[in-house]
């Protein structure tokens, strides 16, 4: 699942050049429900690889209660969330989530298919030195 942040607009080319906004949302993350995080051994701050059929990006994980495992049609459905406001230039940069989303648009309305896609999540390591900003 992807969405924008209140702090950044679209790919962030304007907002990621505003220090006051950059400070509030400094880097892209993947928010992972506690249950999945436990299963994968991921902790907040761990570098996590998110990959799909189209590509892969590595960002920090945020383990949260805010996203919970859904029960859909008797099946457990786990979702992870990422903001899509990052790119290669600006005051702070980060991998664009759209490397892994689907590059297709609705044939009628032209709305892009970037809100949701199937991904795999795996822990790749930890950044030493802590995150204190």
């Amino acid at each position: 699942m992807t969405s924008s942040l209140a702090e950044h607009w679209c790919a962030g080319s304007t907002t990621r050049n505003v220090p006051w906004l950059t400070e509030l949302a400094p880097e892209p993350v993947v928010e992972i429900p506690e249950k999945l995080a436990k299963k994968l051994g991921i902790d907040t701050g761990d570098m996590t690889k998110v990959s799909s059929a189209r590509g892969e990006i590595t960002v920090k994980a945020v383990v949260t209660k805010r996203m919970q495992t859904l029960q859909i049609n008797g099946q457990e459905v786990t979702t992870v969330w990422m903001p899509y406001n990052w790119g290669f230039s600006g005051l702070n940069t980060g991998p664009s989530t759209n490397y892994i989303t689907i590059d297709a648009v609705d044939p009628g309305a032209g709305t892009q298919e970037t809100k949701a896609c199937l991904v795999d999540v795996a822990r790749v390591g930890r950044v030493e030195g802590g995150n204190r900003g």
Binding site: G45, L91, G133
Partner: protein, 725 residues
Amino acid sequence: MAEATLIDTTNCIGCRSCQVSCKQWNDLPGVKTKAPEKGLGFQEPKVLSAKSYVVVTDWLVDDSKSSTGFKQIFAKRQCMHCEDPACASACPATALHKTLEGPVVYDKSRCIGCRYCMWACPWGVPTAEWDSLNPSIRKCTNCYDRLAAQVPETRNGVALTAEEQKGYGAKHSEPACVKQCPGGALKYGERDALLAEAKLRIKNHPGKYVNHIYGEHEAGGTGMLYLASAPFEELGFPRVQSEPIPHLSAIALGSVPPAVVGVGAVLGGTFALNKRREEVAKAEAVEKKVKVTPERHTEFAPVADKVFSPVNKLLMALIGFGGLCFILRFLLGLGHSTGLSDTWAWGLWIVFDFSWIAIAAGAFCTAGIIYVLRRHDLYSIGRTAVLMGFLSYTFVVVTLLADLGLPWHFYSLAMYKPKHSAMFEVSWCIALYLTVLLLEFLPVPLEWFGLKRYHDLWTKYAGAYVPFAIALFVFLLSRNLVWVGLAFVVFAVLAWLFRTREGQKPEPIMLAIAAITFSTMHQSSLGSLYLLMPDKLSHLWWSPIMLVCYFLSSIAAGTSLMILIEMSIAKGYKRALRMDQLAAMGKISFWALLVYLVVRLGDVAMRGNLGLVSGRQGVSFIAEIGLMGLLSLLMLGLSKVRQSPRALGIAAALVVAGVIWNRCNGVIYGMSLKGPLPQIAPLHYMPTIIEWGISIGMIAATILLFKMGAMFLPILPKEEVVAAQ
């Protein structure tokens, strides 16, 4: 009536536009932040700093009523704008002060950069610009500058109607964060009205809020009133006493003027009594025709020494390094030259100052013992004590120059009227005490260089200086002419009674009385500095009577240090030890230590804090009291020990070490500092080489200058010179 802000966290949507608008209005830079940390949620920046006055904290709190089992609560945190702020009470220059309108504001032009406010605030709000060479204290001012701003008459060249102006005025006279808030979480207005509204909200929505308005009673009431749907402890709000935090300091500092008068009167009385006793004894002896051994007048003489002896060369090297560090401190700024931070606003230098002042108490103790208690047998160590005291205090002041962020604003201390700042008291007391020490020492060079005219002037006026110095001090502390008059009269009467009469050998009795009075005041006020921080210092050390403990321990430490100094002099110059004198000092030290330990342990026990003896702080406490306090007390109590140079030396060293350790614990090891608001990320403190360099350089300078003094001036008694080889 004071204005306040009501912060209803249930309305906060966590957009953090208050953070951005705050930075916009106050023109603050962005901070480099990193992704969320475990347990912190989306909270950037993590803590307040000189670049951020506001932080919205993000909490996921368990909630059984919610379908998800938790709820997310945002809390905007900033300066609480206390009704009776600890920071303003701490400030020796009224740079921080509470305005009539409500906000607690900062005036840099008055600030000396002592950072006592940072230590005092229970929320960790004031922060310093560590990177700056001209550092300010920074904190939320509740947009005081917006409140005072004029409403514009035109907009884009078009005149505003009265209605528009009214609307503008209403919006403009709010803090930027309140104006910006889209969720209705912030409301600015009269404190009483907001308090009533908060109570009404709680009453109307019983299930929604916890029945607690944070800020109604905290620290005696604050200008920020919080409502929340979960207990405030779960949202990172510290428990704060409901009594105003400056309450105890106000009592302690308020008792300074009467204490000055009292101490002066008692000392004067004691002196007069002892003097009379002496005269009666003398008269009786004459009557009974008993042959009195004439009082031996100690003669003093310079000692033979080389300026460039190996020891002196080492001292000079240390001083040189210290000087280099001193320069680097000002080139690099505090943040880059020291290990200090918003968590550790004070460090090694303050430990040195506190310890040094405590052990330099030898000067006033010795003066008191010799002149007031009439112990002529100790006369020979008088000059050593006074010179050592004078040099020590001088270098304490020099260290403070390095420690202060804005030492060039020192004149602020003379220009404003802080109400009850222990820092203000200490500053003035030490400054005036330095003048007294200088006057006490002056006769030595005047006599030696044969400046008779000036010596006569000294004889005539040194005593008369005292009532003026005391009156100035009492005026600064009380701003009350009745106390000033009373203090002046008491000391003037003493000065007149104890004036040097024709044909009498001049005795600096008034200076001794002034020295004791000033020392009593600042030694205890160093303890009063802590009265603002019952939440930070472990109650193994913190106590409402900490000032008494600091004063008493300084006497024990001062007299013990005199023993050590005398011993080092004897060793260094290969002179005979005068064990009778040292044993007598040891006995005085014993009694002082005994009284101190009884008060100290009694206080800890009576307040039921012995249970706190555990962990690292427990070890520190046991080392301080047991090893260095009780052991040395036991040793000094035995006359055998007092007669043995080695044992007495060890005992005295233990006393001095114990008191220094006590001051270390007060500043460092007894402290549990939580760092700047929201108090989640305390930093560690490690003094840098520059800090050590300056402190050690100052000690080296004291020792070297003392040696030079002893070499060129008659400081040490003459008759003692014994060729040891």
